[in-house]
């Protein structure tokens, strides 16, 4: 499903003017607080009617102010996880979860575990089923809201910072599930998050927003490895995405992958041999060496070539490296650039610890 | 000087006229509070600052007198009234009111509008009259009792009820109803409007106005409204 969005609206002190196209998969809206992410999402859901705009999902026109067309929210079949959970206070958690079911088009539960039990178990809200929302904790509320939206069997999911109130462990459980929704159900998701890690893991497409405008849009791997964009996301989160093929699951718990630039060992990745996964390698996790280091704990040493060097404002530099087909980013100090005499075309070794690719930075390859 | 009069609401038209004349003749002010006789009597008993009470019912004047609030020797039955049967419309045929009247037949499945037969004087008189004529049992079930006689008249006037029993004074000004008969005086206790000067009345103006009510000019105003002049 492709979602085409074009919006123009003026608030006092803030104006929105953007157009973009979200292909299938997860499209992440990324931008600072107040940049207009929720407003865009609300327009897609039909909760906000812009001065001018056109929104179409595949063939279906959801909104066309020019033609005076505006599908009401309940006819859009769009699941929405709100920034504020918005649970129904008069219904129990179970009734909240099943609310959308009453209205969803008939038919059996589709796809992998969109059933109530599965979702309840996944979200860890089984003990809450008979409670009412008033006394739930912040994170519990948000989890119920996620479940409610998914269970309404939508054809498009809008998620506005769904995991912000959750702890790392819970996030780690929910993220793979969202990946499965994306991949196995092919459920398109418009996803707002301030966490680059989440975006990197889930997003197929990234839309960068600033003050109501789109400043960059593209496949997640391109946007997230673009050194020019890195400062927007925070330098610490700069990194590149590469695809790798699972070669073997080894006995000591490591998985061997082939990246095209040499073998890489990572802690066990749950994927069949031969499967393709995407790895996000943070620029700051990559060390460069002019000689192949020895007697060192890092397992992964790739031969790469320096493509270009971006000097930032501070003492750091982002070095773009060609690793076979793929691109890797490395963040080093200017002092090291000088000391190692790094320049475009020079072959070097990229050193990467096995453990530094965090579990959350390994995602299934999107569609 | 101010004269405060508590008077039954049905006297308003005539009493206002008398008061207006009195005021322009004497320069005194007359303030009249119109309400139901029962409410006025209770208020007087509860200490309302009143000089004259004009009641539409004997029993409420009795109550005031019992409470010792009537100036001795001033109570008098001032006016009288008659009870009439009215019909809706301008061309209703007159009937002979007597024991032989087929009132139930006239009504058909319509209602006979009256004031509340156990509580409001007009209703009480009407019920007594029908009973003495032997008509009550046949029409009892058809009686629609109103809060007061004016409301009963309104039912006839709008045609909701084909017939009604009201005072002659009420029937005069209504073009939508016809008086089809008058109840014989002996079919019910005499309908009288007693008036009295109350013990609170101190000055001459009060007495003067009370007397003006019974003057020829005063009587004329009441007579014009259909009241009978007693004494």
């Amino acid at each position: 499903m492709t979602l085409r969005i074009a919006l123009k609206h003026r608030f006092e002190g803030f104006s929105l003017d953007l157009a973009f196209e979200a292909p299938a998969g997860v499209t992440a809206l990324f931008g600072r607080s107040g940049s207009g992410k929720t407003t865009v999402i609300n327009a897609v859901a039909g909760l906000f009617r812009p001065d001018e705009g056109r929104i179409a999902a595949d063939g279906v026109v959801l909104l066309d102010t020019g033609a005076g067309r505006c599908l009401p929210p309940h006819r859009r079949r769009i699941g929405y996880v709100f920034q504020d959970a918005r649970l129904f206070p008069h219904l129990t958690v179970r009734q909240n979860l099943l609310f959308g079911r009453w209205f969803a088009p008939a038919g059996p539960d589709v796809g992998p575990g969109v059933g109530l039990e599965r979702i309840v178990a996944l979200l860890g809200i089984a003990p809450l089923l008979d409670r009412r929302p008033a006394t739930l904790s912040g994170g519990e509320r948000q989890r119920v809201a996620i479940g409610r939206a998914i269970l309404s069997n939508p054809r498009l999911l809008l998620m506005d910072e769904p995991l912000a109130a959750l702890d790392e462990a819970r996030k780690g459980e929910i993220l793979p599930y969202l990946e499965r929704l994306r991949d196995e159900l092919g459920l398109p998701i418009l996803y707002v998050s301030h966490s680059v890690a989440e975006v990197a893991r889930l997003a197929t497409t990234v839309v960068l927003m600033e003050a109501g405008r789109v400043t960059a849009i593209g496949p997640a791997s391109t946007i997230l490895s673009d050194p020019a964009i890195a400062p927007v996301m925070g330098l610490r989160e700069a990194g590149a995405m590469i695809s790798a093929r699972v070669v073997a699951q080894e006995a000591d718990g490591l998985t061997r992958l082939d990246t095209g630039a040499g073998p890489v060992w990572l802690p066990r990745i749950e994927a069949a041999e031969g499967a393709t996964v995407r790895l996000r390698i943070l620029a700051q996790d990559v060390m460069l060496a002019t000689r192949r280091p020895e007697g060192i704990s890092a397992l992964n040493i790739l031969s790469v070539t320096v493509r270009d060097i971006h000097l930032g404002e501070g003492p750091g530099a982002l070095v773009r490296l060609s690793a076979g087909e793929a691109t890797i980013l490395a963040r080093v100090t200017r002092r090291s650039v000088d000391a190692l005499d790094l320049r475009a075309g020079r072959p070097v070794f990229a050193v990467l610890k096995a453990v530094s690719v965090a579990r959350e930075n390994v995602g299934r390859a999107g569609p | 000087e101010e004269v405060v009069v508590f008077a039954a609401a049905s006297m308003k038209t005539a009493l206002d006229a008398v008061a207006a004349d009195f005021q322009s003749a004497t320069g005194h002010t007359v303030t009249i509070s119109y309400a139901g006789s029962n409410a006025l009597a209770k208020q007087i008993i509860e200490g309302a600052p009143t000089d004259i009470f004009l009641s539409a019912a004997v029993n409420w004047m009795d109550e005031v007198e019992k409470a010792g609030l009537v100036t001795e020797g001033t109570r008098a039955d001032l006016f009288g009234n008659t009870l009439v049967l009215v019909a809706h419309g301008t061309d209703a045929a007159p009937v002979e009111i007597g024991p032989g009247l087929d009132l139930a037949g006239l009504l058909g499945d319509g209602k006979l509008a009256m004031a509340m037969v156990d509580a409001v004087p007009a209703g009480q008189y009407g019920k007594a009259a029908l009973e003495s004529l032997g008509l009550w049992p046949s029409v009892e079930a058809s009686v629609a009792q109103s809060e007061n006689v004016r409301a009963a008249l309104m039912l006839v006037s709008t045609g909701e009820a084909p017939y009604g029993i009201v005072y002659a004074t009420d029937a005069v000004a209504d073009d939508a109803v016809t008086v089809v008969g008058t109840f014989p005086d002996d079919s019910h206790k005499p309908i009288v409007y007693p008036g009295a000067l109350l013990t609170g009345a101190a000055d001459a103006a009060d007495r003067a106005f009370f007397e003006a009510l019974s003057s020829d000019a005063g009587d004329a105003k009441f007579a014009a409204q259909g009241f009978a002049i007693l004494n």
């Binding site: 918005r86 009453w102 | 509008a113 409301a151």
Partner: protein, 232 residues
């Protein structure tokens, strides 16, 4: 009990209950609709509707009763239509008493419901919309349950008012024992005759008892509903 109430008084009590119950029940959906319209919709003539709804409050009851008579009486514009087309006669029937009571109570009911509707967070209704619920369904599954305490408050106000209504009722449908003689009419009658106060007091006590029972019941229900929502 039977000793100290005459059969007519018993009938007045029963009739008052019937009239108030039906007046409340039948006006409930209309009240809800009008309250919703006033709270949420913008339409031409909204101030007019608002004004008309409040009229029974502003006018002396007798005037309301008179207007009802003119409109809904046998010869009234609406009354004739109702009679001829549907065979519904209101004049001099308990149904007319219920109509009068309902109309007198209407502004109170509408106000309570309107306040409750205005207090509902529209974002919850939006959320229901995104979950596939159409407007009517949103109303039934979200708005209505949330305003239930307000609806109950409106209903109990209407019931209480209907129990006490007198002026418009007696003007419109008169006072026919067993048909339209409600408790207030009976009380009124006793107050019209000297020495009737003790009897009136008895009936007043009964009226109070009934209304208090209804009030307590409504408070209890409203509290239970509110507690469910607050999750305790």
């Amino acid at each position: 009990m039977t000793d100290w109430l005459t059969p007519d008084e018993w009938r007045a009590v029963a009739l008052s209950l019937r009239v108030s119950f039906w007046a409340t029940l039948v006006s409930l959906p209309f009240g809800l609709l009008v309250a919703y319209a006033l709270a949420r919709w913008n339409f031409w003539g909204k101030p007019l509707l608002n004004g008309v709804v409040h009229l029974p409050l502003i006018l002396p009851p007798v005037v309301t009763g008179y207007l009802l008579l003119i409109i809904f009486g046998r010869r009234g514009a609406v009354g004739q239509v109702l009679d001829e087309w549907f065979g519904v006669v209101l004049a001099f029937r308990w149904t007319g008493a219920a109509l009068a009571a309902g109309i007198m109570a209407f502004p109170l009911m509408v106000r309570a419901m309107r306040l409750a509707i205005e207090a509902v967070d529209p974002r919850l209704e939006q959320a229901a919309g995104t979950l596939g619920a159409s407007r009517p369904w949103v109303f039934a599954t979200v708005t209505l349950p949330l305003i239930l305490p307000g609806v109950i408050a409106g209903a109990i106000l209407a019931f209480a008012k209907a129990m006490g209504e007198f002026g418009a009722t007696i003007t419109f449908v008169s006072n026919i024992p067993g048909q339209t003689q409600t408790l207030p009419s009976a009380i009124y009658a006793f107050l019209q005759v000297p020495g009737g106060e003790p009897q009136a007091a008895r009936l007043v006590a009964i009226a109070i008892a009934i209304a208090m029972a209804a009030l307590l019941l409504s408070e209890w229900v409203a509290r239970a509903v509110a507690r469910r929502i607050s999750g305790q």
